[in-house]
Symmetry: C2
Subunit: 490 residues, 2 copies
């Protein structure tokens, strides 16, 4: 049947927590524009408790932006109270709407539409909501949707602060097995299908059936795994069959890499093929869950943290009208509005990257920036993998590596001998040896949702190649890691 | 007895909601610095999923700041990845600590200490927490502290979005009567004392005794009322006697005005006395609740929204260590950190206002800016009061005015005839007449917590003098208001 707003309400009302029913907004201001129109006379607002713009200490600003990641060429972007006219300082310094500034919403919407990261149903039934970072939006979604009766499926190893937010609503989390095979990365769909088909006789029979799946489909944190398109289609079909909503958290989606070439470790197809943004968008980027969504059951979280800067605290959510209204209402009485100055800087920077203000040109310029970032990350990934494969510890079989094709992380599984001591104890000891050698990584077991469930996946480190100063530092870090493992295990 | 962290925990544990007990943070990263130290070798971090700074599109920026509100003189403030060295872009664009950047925390702490807006107990037992706006911090405090068992005292007319946040936790709100007499502005302490002394036989006997008072003590929203120091002392004594916590929301505290002079309406003592910041701080600014606090029972909310710009979404909370840990933990898994770029701009701007980087000089410069703002607001308040007192409707006794000595708001009580029609209906009709005349204000009844309780206070409009373009527009607005009231009532 054709989706409508009414149908969205009927379909998703059961996905709302009892908490949301307690959330009422007291709107005390008039939201309708005045009908006043008298030639030569201006309507006067005495309503909003807003300082006049002359009271803001900032008269204007300018931002020097890079023409490409790592470049030294810059473009100066002037921003004043009146310019750019589409989004000027006098507005962004002021109180503003909770959903974000319309020009930024329009850009974001055009951008995700260009990449096909939009639902298949009527475009009037979904929205892009600008927000203060995906972490906060996820918190708000769980507060809105889950309570003591709710069950959320999650990857067995995941970004655990999100788990804190789920548990804080009283909901339960149920881990899903991850496959780490090169040809089958991510959620183990055989396990998942079996779990769902036999829920009432399975290990979680005491719980209700799950209403949500929280997943990081591309460059997963901490594992670096990327789900294939086939896997995504299978999981979406399961979502339809067993009626759950998919929360697609995709901070790393744009940092997508061609496959690592063992013969030519430093090969970077972004450079060697002179890749165009067209090829990048079509052949490299992954098909998102939201692009498969015919039902309104996918909520997609994107952020500017990894492709612009975390200090902006700026992100957006793509979601159907029903969930949108709920999340917007929650923003209105809490964070109130995404930071205006962040919206200003991100909007102005992206627009300054383009030769014209034509939307297609701006999208193309931003896509170009992002592709260049992905290219740099590919180099870093190559360097680290190359260093790992050539390391002493690897050659002696003391650890194995899971190859990422997206994101910021590589995991290294250390072949500890379980008979010697508990795995966690050994990993704790090993990280102290690493500290002595001058290198630190994340202890994988700390990102397990349930250590008993993931008892075969507690022996890894999450390494990032994102933060090092240069390639030499990455190689040096791997040498220190390898030396530590050799010292500890050999 | 001397306050200690243990004593704070014991004393305030009963002020924590059952929700907080469900809030556990999964910290998966190492929080201790490494002990690694080897000459000529640098410790290498592969832990944090942070982009290298060369991936941020911003190379540098510069902000042109005003030397005084409304001035056209500007100072150029350069900000680069390395400067100012105390807080540089490479840090503020990056992921950072949830409590805010230490240099900004230090400044804020020194600033409130200079003004005496700090508790009386041991300085090691309280903190300044940087946050994303007071609205969000209040939301987080209520989530942390209140639940179905809780009762919160509030002014009968208040900033109602906060009420939404209290009710959303399941807590009850109990309105307190407001006195609008010039010589007794704000919470009616006789009523309050009686209510508390006879709680078990009073109108709210079915509720537990209140654990919190939420108050806007200076330039209250919507009434513009400012509580005298005596009143504050009485209320603090009640807080001690009946053991409740005071949530002091003080967005307007710095916008404090000398009393309106009916003989010389445009008199502005900031100008006529060439007021110094010393006099402003000592004689004009109000004594805050937190400055009276010996017990840890005041939590103070300050914001940069009214004295810098709302679009920064930057604020801070002054609170004891026990509540601090709770609120910080909540920030960590939600908004994650106050916007870095906002902290950068606010910090850099304030420091650029001073002739040296000496903290006393920076405090003095910022105080000077704030005092100039208060001076401009005094002019605007004077203009609007003068226009109101000279308006046709006032002269015909159709409305009265409550004189503010702080903030952004004046309320006008319209003398509607209750026999003619319900007050709310008449106010709704009147605002439509105002719309026809080209002016809009806030309907006071929409800011009542309980319309039955406040049935004698439903006949007012909240006007702001903050937002008008100039004094002429303020006068024109009042003329239109007056014309509307005359047309409707006469």
């Amino acid at each position: 049947m054709t989706l409508t707003n009414q149908e969205l309400r009927d379909r998703f009302a059961p996905f709302i927590s009892r908490r949301d029913a307690d959330r009422h907004i007291n709107i005390f201001w008039e939201t309708q524009p005045s009908a006043f129109s008298e030639p030569g006379k201006q309507f006067i607002e005495l309503s909003g408790g807003m300082p006049h713009t002359s009271f803001f200490p900032i008269e204007s600003m300018s931002v020097n932006i890079l023409t490409a990641p790592g470049s030294t060429d810059t473009i100066n972007v002037p921003i004043t109270h009146e310019t750019p006219s589409s989004l000027a300082l006098k507005h962004t310094l002021q109180y503003a709407l909770s959903e974000g500034f319309q020009p930024l919403i329009d850009f974001v919407r055009a951008f995700v539409t260009r990449l096909g990261n939009v639902p298949q149903y009527d475009p009037s039934l979904w929205q892009c909501l600008i927000a203060n970072g995906s972490c906060d939006s996820l918190f708000k979604i769980f507060q809105t949707c889950t309570d003591e009766r709710s069950v959320v499926l999650v990857e067995e190893l995941t970004f655990v602060p999100v788990i804190s937010n789920i548990l804080a609503t009283g909901a339960k989390v149920v881990p899903l097995k991850l496959s780490m095979r090169d040809d089958d990365q991510g959620i183990d769909t055989t396990y998942m299908e079996d779990l769902l088909a036999n829920w009432e006789t399975g290990p979680y029979a005491a719980y209700d059936r799950p209403k949500f799946l929280y997943t990081i489909p591309t460059g997963q944190n901490p594992t670096g795994l990327t789900q294939s398109v086939d896997k995504r289609r299978k999981i979406y079909a399961l979502a339809q069959k067993y009626d759950f909503v998919i929360l697609e958290d995709d901070p790393y989606g744009y940092l997508k890499f061609p496959k690592f070439n063992h013969e030519k470790p430093m090969e970077n197809p972004y450079i060697s093929t002179e890749m165009t943004t067209e090829q990048y968008a079509r052949d490299v980027l992954m098909t998102s869950y939201i692009s498969m969504d015919t039902d309104g059951r996918v909520i997609r979280f994107e952020t500017f943290s990894k492709i612009f800067a975390p200090g902006m605290r700026l992100s957006f959510v793509i979601l159907n009208n029903f969930f949108y209204e709920k999340l917007l209402k929650f923003q209105e009485i809490t964070t109130r509005q995404p930071t205006g100055i962040s919206q200003q800087i991100v909007y102005s920077t992206i627009h300054a990257m383009a030769p014209t203000k034509n939307t297609d040109d701006v999208i193309e310029a931003w896509l170009h920036w992002i592709m260049k970032l992905a290219c740099s990350y590919t180099d870093r990934r190559n360097v680290m993998l190359d260093a790992l494969y050539n390391s002493e510890a690897y050659k002696r079989g003391l650890y194995s590596v899971v190859e990422p094709s997206a994101g910021m992380f590589i995991i290294v599984n250390v072949n500890v001998d379980e008979k010697r001591a508990p795995v966690i104890q050994q990993m704790d000891e090993l990280i102290r040896v690493m500290d002595k050698h001058g290198v630190r990584a994340i202890l994988g077991y700390k990102m397990a949702v349930d250590r008993e469930f993931s008892k075969d996946h507690l022996n890894f480190f999450r390494l990032t190649y994102a933060y090092a100063d240069n390639h030499e530092q990455l190689r040096e870090a791997v040498t220190r890691l390898s030396d530590s493992v050799v010292e500890y295990l050999a």
